[in-house]
Symmetry: C2
Subunit: 402 residues, 2 copies
Amino acid sequence: MSTKLEQYRVRIRTELDRVVDFWLKYSHDTQYGGFFTCLGKEGKIYDELKYVWLQGRQVWMYCRLYRTMERFRKPEILEAAKSGGMFLQRFARVPSSSNPWKCAFCLTRDGKPVKVQRTIFSECFYIMAMDELSRVTEDKDMQAEAEQMMSQLIHWVRVDSSGLGRPQLPGDTPVNSMAVPMMLLCLVQQLTEERGQEVAEKYREVGDWCVKQILQHVQRGGTAILESVTTEGKELPGCQGRLQNPGHALEAGWFLFQYGGLHGDQALQQTAVDKFMEVPFLSGWDKEHGGLLYFLDVDGYCPTQLEWSMKLWWPHCEALIAYLMAYSQTKDSALLERFSAVYNYTFSNFSDPENGEWFGYLTQEGKVALDFKGGPFKGFFHVPRCLYMCEQILDRLLDEQI
Amino acid sequence: MSTKLEQYRVRIRTELDRVVDFWLKYSHDTQYGGFFTCLGKEGKIYDELKYVWLQGRQVWMYCRLYRTMERFRKPEILEAAKSGGMFLQRFARVPSSSNPWKCAFCLTRDGKPVKVQRTIFSECFYIMAMDELSRVTEDKDMQAEAEQMMSQLIHWVRVDSSGLGRPQLPGDTPVNSMAVPMMLLCLVQQLTEERGQEVAEKYREVGDWCVKQILQHVQRGGTAILESVTTEGKELPGCQGRLQNPGHALEAGWFLFQYGGLHGDQALQQTAVDKFMEVPFLSGWDKEHGGLLYFLDVDGYCPTQLEWSMKLWWPHCEALIAYLMAYSQTKDSALLERFSAVYNYTFSNFSDPENGEWFGYLTQEGKVALDFKGGPFKGFFHVPRCLYMCEQILDRLLDEQI
């Protein structure tokens, strides 16, 4: 067993080094600050737009690596993170917006807003970036800024969303979309981690609310995780109501498992494993070709998303974290088997032995469908987050066995 | 030669009958009016949302068939078109909008707005529906309504787009997106067809402007049609600037060819053939698997659209119309060869011999990737428009040969 775990650790550690090298080498904009994220298979920049989600995520990831892993505590990484943070502080918020906290989705290379989404996600990654950067730099103002934007986010989600700019339409009834409580829960964990009792208390109620909202997505007598439900936790009609996103469910799984661990909630951890890790595998794993399908309709209709049958990198990243995290605590060998299945598929199909980093998008049969390493939605985030978390978990597991 | 053309005509005629039967049988909402368009491979309704583009297109198509093809002059078709027209008149425009002409993108089954796009396309298909319906019913008020909405559209496109609700952002510089002049040109042809000199004069300047705007998309010394260019007709930077959509270029090709024919502009017709029919075939035809790719980057980078390598039904419909229309006038056998290549691929891959109608989305290799017959973007439009136009062209060609 420990031989196997050691093999995983070696590969994962090597892979993380290669991925970090790739982004250090190709993604930094030394002229305007921030990061290029549209990088071809060999690292060549094929578009200069700067997506705020990906700017925030890269700042967060650099800081997290710098802060928690000895070998990444390098000035080059810190400086890049600070440059990204400054770029975000200067340009992410839209000056012409009626709300001073609203962030753009996409900026030009020199920081001019191109597009604003009427959702909360740019702001979420802005908060993650600022909070994690403030931990490295010990900048209290920056930490305060992250918490202020979090207050605004909570207001948009729980009190009044009109500030996001979506028109209220009679046919557009409010929905509990899993992404929203997941992101808020992720932010609660980010903002409270090792910050002491007072901050933990401040966000405790929001955290518990997020958990309840996520649990509403367990449907069909516990046999399905549905991506969108009514605000009362009932099924929605039509395609929207029947949509499953196995990778997203798995990501929610480890968020819940972690939250349950922090708060001594074993029942929640059990639900995380049984419902958010096992159910999406049963529905989402492609028995013929291997890998996790991107979208599924719970009643077996064909999803309307053209990419439904593709294999995307990030659901596999989330699955690796989920199964290894749950295994490390429960020692249930079935979870390690799930990890192994996903690991084998992932490392043989997504990782690029030639140029480093991972491909993001495969056909159902496993052929590379889009060969770039970074794009509008793929940056320095899911792959390194997965590798760094798995490496840390494996370190602990192997330490225990000595 | 005429044997081959006769074979095409027989197959196309049979196919059109089957397609019309499919939608007559499965798509009518007799309770609320309008049409269901989310229809599974056997015609089963899998979602009840009503997309305004597709409602308008189906009304237009029913009326066009009723008006121009003897065998479709049936009360059932007329009644369905009227029901769709009434549904649109009652529900398409968004009551809460600041502009009385702004239409929703998507409605609930009973007509409540779900989503509004900040573009002009719902309104375009509303105009097409109303104008064509007014020709069948001889309803002058309806014709006037179509023209009034057209005035509003022209204002949005050429004078001031702020009424569409898009925030003006410093990084979001105005773009000449091919869809816009194409749709306007299509509407000009719709509104002026056989309406006499006065209406033709009214729209002549707009029509000519559309042609100029479309011709700006011929780039790289005539070797590429680019989907988006600057308002001065220059290349845009990045992915957006390099994007090619061969099906769209081919559709523009027959719009231009038709317009050139109507106005005796042979040079325009030649450009339509050389640039908008031949260039997209050379760049977009998949030499390995056959069929037209959906998106391409002119510099050979991988497009960021996940579906770039899929084969969609509608580009093939547009290609069939373009090549047959150009062949019927020029008698250039190279154009008939292009038609044959597309015809062979299309009828062997998209048409469903078992349940009727066509699949819409194939993998690059030609496997059915999404098996429904109708969805949020596939309704009763591209397939029947292609078949009815090709049948009419073949009728004329075969008549000539007697």
